[in-house]
């Protein structure tokens, strides 16, 4: 049986040793080369005798990180990719939670690594790739690994501001990737143009789908999303045919009316997740590329990446929202009310998920784990863990799930319960508004609409509000932005945006 991610990876290496595995701006490496590097790093780590322990990775975005990740797996440990651009305070917090057995780093981060507290082995990436591969040692480690052992941890911000490390097992990844590659027919001819950073759950999808099937994982440099012509050149040069991006990245093309000037030539599939996809963006893409597959994917890091999906099969108006669709194969979804009873179609409730995509919990955080990974409230006949997503959803008449917003962003205003998403979609259809975010100021009970666009639009927005929204949902104030602050993943940073607005 294929127990671990490495079994799938090695099958790929055997079938397609000369296929491009990973590429970045500078160069590309084959599956064969990738494996050699990973085994060398794996040997270097394994010499220190740790098993199932965290290995932190502090490296720049580029082709070397996947080798370090696989190296950690070869050593029988699990990895955590740190965001080298995040403030040192946050990195230290994560390091405190982890107390890793080793840190793999590139020499430019030497000073930061030297300042980390605690006992851990320092592994210089370049040096470790020169380690003589010890096949006997690696084989021995492999024989001890279980599919239920952790493969990696991804840290999410957590509403309290203290990061939580979602722990994902080999089995989680295998189950999840099995759905993804079958659903979207990923094979050795697929070339991913990857946008998402490797410390973000979306990156798991295109990275491991590649490693399981022999596809190419082309890492797009972050700055190309500021200079879009470069982006298209990169995509055409590497023959990218599949992308899985956050909506803001897809929206960049819309903002610049990019396809009027240049177009990606090889695209076949466009998937998106991570935040609500404005239909206006989708319609722009469809205008230039009507025959591509478009899919809206949905899920939290705690379900490996995704638990529901919708393949776009009909037209939507700019003012409508896309459904998040149906459960992925091997994933079970429930919509519960506050008392833990299933609600009927059309009624809003919280989304719960069960099945093999669901993570084991948060690393060294039993309290938080027990809060959200709970026994299925429908029965007590045998242990069945369900994950409480904190997302509010409802089923539409077609039986598709619709995303309504976060439970913790739900606004209670003038006695009404309001989902900010409903207000936002009304405005994001307005010509000249790129994105809209509704902020609620609980201090004075006022709704504020922040939008990306010209400040002269405010009157148009007021008219729109009167036309489309009931009185209690109309914003009291409008704030124009050239561009919203985005977090490292490219998503709108709602917390920072709220702070900026409330401090004005």
């Amino acid at each position: 049986m294929n127990k671990t991610i490495l079994d799938y990876f090695e099958k790929t290496v055997n079938s397609y040793p000369q296929n491009i595995a990973v590429g970045d701006n500078d160069c590309e490496i084959t599956y064969n080369q990738l494996q050699k590097k990973a085994q060398a790093i794996g040997t270097a780590i394994a010499k220190n005798d740790s098993l199932r322990s965290p290995i932190a990775i502090l490296m720049k975005r580029g082709r070397n990180i996947p080798a370090a990740m696989l190296g950690a797996l070869y050593s029988g440990n699990f990895y955590v990719v740190l965001d080298c651009e995040s403030p040192i305070g946050r990195i230290s917090k994560i390091m405190d939670i982890l107390s890793p057995a080793a840190v793999i780093y590139e020499s430019e981060f030497n000073e930061i690594v030297n300042n980390f507290k605690g006992a851990f082995i320092k592994i210089d990436f370049e040096n470790s790739t020169k380690t003589q591969i010890d096949n006997k040692l690696l084989k021995n480690i492999r024989s001890q690994l279980l599919s239920t052992d952790p493969a990696y941890s991804i840290f999410t911000s957590g509403s309290t501001g203290s990061p939580k490390g979602v722990l994902i097992t080999h089995l989680n990844v295998i189950s999840y990737i099995d759905w993804f590659i079958n659903c979207f027919k990923i094979d050795e001819k697929t070339v991913f143009g990857s946008q998402t950073p490797l410390y973000f759950s979306m990156s798991v999808t295109d990275l491991f789908a590649s490693f399981f099937k022999g596809s190419a994982y082309q890492m797009i440099p972050k700055e190309y999303f500021t200079f879009p012509v470069k982006l298209v050149e990169f995509m055409n040069e590497r023959k990218v045919n599949t992308i899985y991006w956050v909506p803001s990245a897809l929206g960049m093309a819309v903002k610049f009316d990019l396809f009027k000037y240049c177009k990606p030539k090889y695209l076949e599939k466009v998937m998106f997740a991570g935040e609500v996809m404005p239909v206006k963006y989708l319609n722009y893409w469809k205008r230039y590329f009507p025959y591509l597959l478009y899919a809206n994917l949905f899920g939290p890091t705690e379900t490996t990446d995704i638990c529901a999906y919708y393949i776009v099969d009909r037209e939507f108006l700019d003012s409508q929202t896309l459904p998040i669709g149906v459960p992925c194969s091997n994933s079970r979804l429930f919509v519960f009310d506050e008392k833990g009873c299933e609600v009927s179609n059309g009624v809003e409730g919280e989304l719960y998920v069960s099945g093999p995509f669901v993570a084991s919990g948060y690393y060294r955080n039993k309290v938080k784990t027990n809060e959200v990974f709970v026994q299925n409230p429908l029965h007590n006949k045998f242990p069945e863990i369900v994950y409480k997503t904190g997302d509010l959803v409802r089923k539409n008449k077609k039986g598709e799930l619709e995303y309504l917003g976060r439970k913790d962003f739900q606004i209670k205003h003038m006695g009404y319960r309001i989902e900010s998403g409903e207000i936002e979609s009304a405005f994001s259809a307005v010509n000249g508004v790129e994105l809209a975010v509704c902020i609620y100021n609980s201090e004075d009970d006022k709704l504020i609409l922040a939008y990306e666009g010209n400040e002269k639009l405010i009157n148009t927005l007021k008219v729109t509000a009167e036309k489309l929204l009931p009185q209690y949902m109309r914003p009291h104030k409008y704030e124009a932005f050239d561009e919203f602050p985005k977090n490292a993943n490219g998503k709108i940073d709602r917390k920072l945006l709220k702070k900026i607005i409330l401090e004005k």
Binding site: E223, F225, T226, F227, V229, L258, K486
Partner: protein, 75 residues
Amino acid sequence: MERIYEILSTIKPGVDYENAENLVDGKILTSLNIARLVAMLNDEFDIEITPIHLIPENFNSVKSIYKLVTMLDGE
């Protein structure tokens, strides 16, 4: 040219714009800064900076920004 200095200083103060030649490549300006800069240049000089002009080389120094603006203004 003066106006470009002013705009840059409102977007990101505290940079030695007179001597800087790697505003983009040196990661001095973030993508957010550049988006704001483009919007302000478009407004101020009544030009349209299209994706074709949106390349790092045009934004690395005040001189190159000025060159871009004059070129587009003449069109």
